[in-house]
Amino acid sequence: MPSEPLLSARGLHKSFGDNHVLRGVDLDIAPGTVHALIGPSGSGKTTVLRSLNGLESPEAGTLRIGELELDLAAPRTRRERSALHRASAMVFQQHHLFPHLTVLGNVTIGPIRVQGRGREEVTADALALLDRVGLREKADAYPSSLSGGQQQRVGIVRALALQPSMLLFDEPTSSLDPELVGEVLAVMTELASEGWTMAVVTHELGFAREVADEVSFFDEGVVVERGTPEQVFGDPREERTKRFLQRLQGPFGR
């Protein structure tokens, strides 16, 4: 693993009421690598991911992404908030596209209205990105007229258009019909091969095995085990990891 991580999170703690969902989570992601966050529901992996983009505010913890360093528990200044949103961009489980904007509008609103870049340049970039995911001809369509897989690909393009340092994926295929999962994973695989730094919360263990450089297994608010996919999937050290992987395999194997 390269020496200096692009992202380092330390000591993340977060409670929702009595539910202590993060109990001291550390996370390091090296530049140009894909880090898969796996584990049972409620294990805290999504909360960690959302904290990285400022969508959750942990009660304790620090975060460094590139040059940006934050105490996550402290209230954020405007500048810090905007730097945090510039540092990473998120693809949501349920895409959360803006239904009142066209596909192009969804992709360009952040760069134009928030980042203040020129409309022409942003539009050209956005169309090129849409072309890459095969949705150039849908630029003027509204999200409701797209399939789930197409919507999620637009979600990915919206994130890319923000020109972040890294990409965050929150179970990007969990809400999709099975036959639409492949097209989204294909785009993600391509991004990984281009050298994007990615954190991916996923139940797609096949994807994690094939594409991830590193895997963290979460359970009950802590990282139980981390390592290469070969190690975590092939030869898990921890009992909890073994049990989780066995459960996922189910009675018929895979």
Binding site: G54, H85, H96, F98, P99, H100, V114, P143
Partner: protein
């Protein structure tokens, strides 16, 4: 039925609609919407005193008759030195009233927009204000068209109340024609018909607006 009287009266009554009822409705609805949005934002602001104030305003407006509100402003205010002409009095009273009712509609519409929309807006870097203006309010507007249309149509009819504070609108014109002629039934049916036509046109407009906004409906 006195057909001759109908023909004679319909012109002045329609003119009363065009110079009184319709501009009064439009002005009051516009100002009322601004008041409503401000109240709705105050209600969801999370600032206790602000939302409390908005809640109190809405409670008073909805808990008192429109006619009494008109009287307080037109006949009551002069006692404390605030003397207003019939038109400004009418617009103030009507728009304050619309604001109170429409505020709850807009608040509910804003709250009906999924949290994910706020999160996606934050993710692309928007402030809360930008998220509200560019993402949430446009979607809330679509949701609130049907209930706001109801408010609008009620307002058209409520303008008839301003005849008692001497605003020359549709119904006051009708009263003036009816009194000397003694043909109350005929004249008031003509007046009712003109209100009905206005509301028919508005309902048609609501359909078209909804269809236009439906292009992105989920």
């Amino acid at each position: 039925m006195n057909w001759e009287l109908i023909l004679e009266s319909i012109g002045p009554i329609a003119l009363g609609a065009i110079t009184g009822t319709i501009p009064l409705t439009l002005a009051s609805f516009t100002v009322g919407l601004v008041i409503a949005i401000a109240l709705a934002l105050a209600r969801i602001s999370g600032v206790t005193w602000l939302s409390g104030l908005a809640r109190a305003y809405i409670s008073v407006i909805r808990g008192t008759p429109m006619l009494v509100q008109l009287f307080v402003i037109f006949y009551g205010m002069p006692q404390i030195g605030i003397i207003l002409d019939p038109w400004p009095s009418a617009i103030i009273a009507l728009s304050m009233n619309v604001g109170g009712y429409a505020a709850e509609i807009i608040r509910a519409a804003i709250l009906s927009i999924p949290r994910g929309q706020w999160e996606a807006a934050a993710m692309v870097g928007m402030s809360r204000g930008q998220s509200l203006w560019r993402i949430v309010l446009p979607q809330a507007a679509r949701v609130s068209v049907p209930p706001l249309s109801n408010t609008f149509i009620s307002l058209v009819k409520d303008t008839s109340l301003t005849s008692v504070i001497l605003v020359t609108e549709l119904f006051r014109v009708a009263q003036r024609i009816a009194a000397p002629s003694g043909e109350f039934l005929t004249i008031y049916i003509v007046a009712a018909a003109v209100y009905w036509v206005i509301c028919l046109v508005l309902a048609g407009g609501q359909d078209r607006l909804e269809r236009k906004l439906d292009r992105y409906a989920v």
